[in-house]
């Protein structure tokens, strides 16, 4: 019995030490953002020997008279519009695939599955050309519109699988009570779909927040910059960056995602476990 509990203690110790090592880069980022600029690379301890908020004040000023507050507001706008779009259009499509009998259902469904695995880059250039012709470069339409066209098929699949788990008897009794398919969607399926909707909302939020590649391609006007673009612009690879400001804004950029994760982590981790999201 004794050796068993020792073994368990050792195991916990290994897991905890490995966990601290895992989190070390993040902790380093947070702690360095509170150190005076000249100490960031000399004082390697996690607890700052001198504590300052100057980095946050300097960083918040942003670039070329556009403050980081603007970048944050832009990122929030894009992410929230993306979330709403994905929830509305993916749940409609998922209901159709999971519950309705219609012509060519199997064909559309298998095409939808294929698009999940399709690399983004194979459609990138014509999409860019279309948005360019529509004069949508330097607007948020290229970032938001795809979400309103259920372009992230992964979430359709997530919701289809969830809806298949909802007992059909509920639909049938609603039909007897005189509900049409659209009412079944709105009154029965949608309220029961909430856990899947939350999972999809969180992932959409995080992916839109972090979607550096698309933001960089479509946005060059500094007033439209997102948090990711702002940070990348503060950072000069040749080494002349204001590291304090950079690390302070980097820390702030991780706050919304971390908070959302900590609040909703039950949905989040169960969502990954059941669907195998990234």
């Amino acid at each position: 019995m004794r050796s068993k509990s020792v073994a368990a203690a050792v195991k916990h110790a290994v897991i905890i030490i490995a966990g601290i090592l895992m989190l070390y880069p993040v902790l380093w980022l947070v702690s360095s953002s509170f150190k005076p600029n000249h100490m960031i690379f000399t004082d390697t301890g996690l607890w700052p020997k001198a504590f300052t908020l100057d980095n946050y004040a300097n960083g918040w000023k942003g670039l070329q008279h556009v403050s980081f507050g603007r970048f944050f507001a832009n990122s929030w706008l894009i992410s929230i519009m993306s979330v709403l779009g994905n929830l509305a259009t993916c749940s409609l499509a998922a209901f159709a695939f999971a519950r309705l009998n219609f012509k060519l259902r199997k064909l559309w469904f298998s095409l939808m599955l294929v698009t999940i695995m399709l690399p983004y880059h194979v459609t990138l250039i014509p999409q860019y050309i279309i948005y360019d012709k529509l004069q949508w470069i330097n607007t948020y339409y290229p970032l938001i519109l795809p979400k309103w066209l259920a372009h992230d098929s992964f979430f359709i699949l997530l919701m289809v699988q969830f809806i298949r788990g909802i007992p059909r008897e509920l639909d049938e009794s609603a039909t007897i009570d005189g509900c049409g398919q659209r009412q079944i969607y709105g009154r029965i399926i949608l309220p029961l779909l909430v856990p899947a909707l939350i999972t999809a909302a969180i992932f959409t939020f995080i992916w839109s927040w972090d979607d550096f590649f698309s933001q960089m391609i479509y946005l060059s006007d500094i007033k439209l910059f997102t948090v990711q673009l702002g940070i990348r612009s503060l950072f000069d690879p040749s080494g002349q960056s204001d590291w304090g400001a950079l690390l302070a804004m980097s820390t702030l950029s991780l706050v919304p995602i971390t908070l959302i994760f900590l609040i909703f982590q039950r949905y989040f981790l169960d969502g990954i476990a059941t669907t195998g999201l990234k």
Binding site: I206, D210, F213, P237
Partner: protein
Amino acid sequence: MPKSRRPLSNEHNFTAYLFLLPWLIGFFCLTLGPMLGSLYFSFTRYNLLSPPEWIGFSNFVNIFTEDPTFQNSISLTFQYVFLSVPLRLAFALLIAMMLNKGIRALGLYRTVYYIPSLLGGSVAIAIVWRQIFDGEGLVNKFLGLIGIEGPSWISHPDYIIYTIVSLSVWQFGSAMVIFLAGLKQIPADLYEAAQVDGAGKVRQFFRITLPMLTPVLFFNLVMSIINSFQAFTPAYVIGDGRGGPLDATMFYTLYLYLKGFSFFDMGYASALAWIMLLIIGALTAVLFVTSKFWVFYGDSKEGR
């Protein structure tokens, strides 16, 4: 009865296509149309300003015969995929095994190990990585403590790839969560029976755990390979954004981006995109074909 069934199926048809309308528009305008578009552009010379000019297979011939950057970026990307995916999955499985079996505080540990996957995709973390792997950064200070003099991971073209691989491996948490769910599905009586038969822990792992996990492993493998092939942000931010030092961060997607959006050689970039699609398609097909030999779907599915 047929009378009442017809309006029902009509209602289904109409409602279904109404509900699918956004997705259908997206499918034709954002997926199928652009795919055919980039196939067409791959046979042209096109810089956005003048109309595309048909040049047949020239782009492909150039890519395969006189483009050393392409060959370098392909082999670099394969190196990245084949280093980071197995390592990431191995770590994920190892930690998942440790966390399985009713350990206390599982929820807390799971959260801690998942946080890197949550934050790893951001520019902020890529910048942190660049800094801690720097010549005098944290990693080398740590190596110094145990008497190893680390190289300058960032500025040396031979080592920067390992910096990027380590960032990917660090994010093993999401795969771990999937493995944990898979491990939970394995019936405990299998282990009890094995114990009665005198099988040790190692034997149990290779004879029970691993075969029962193969469906989950297969899924993780396919998704990780597809995603790793498209990695962009780490290469862009940890490198100098132009593929340097000495093209050591010229990942395939970065090369495609530079061709398309720095040199505005849209035809060439489209050809690169289609080659990428074919490579990913081939890899996935190989995995699916070989899966018959190593992925074990339990009796429950075969029996039915």
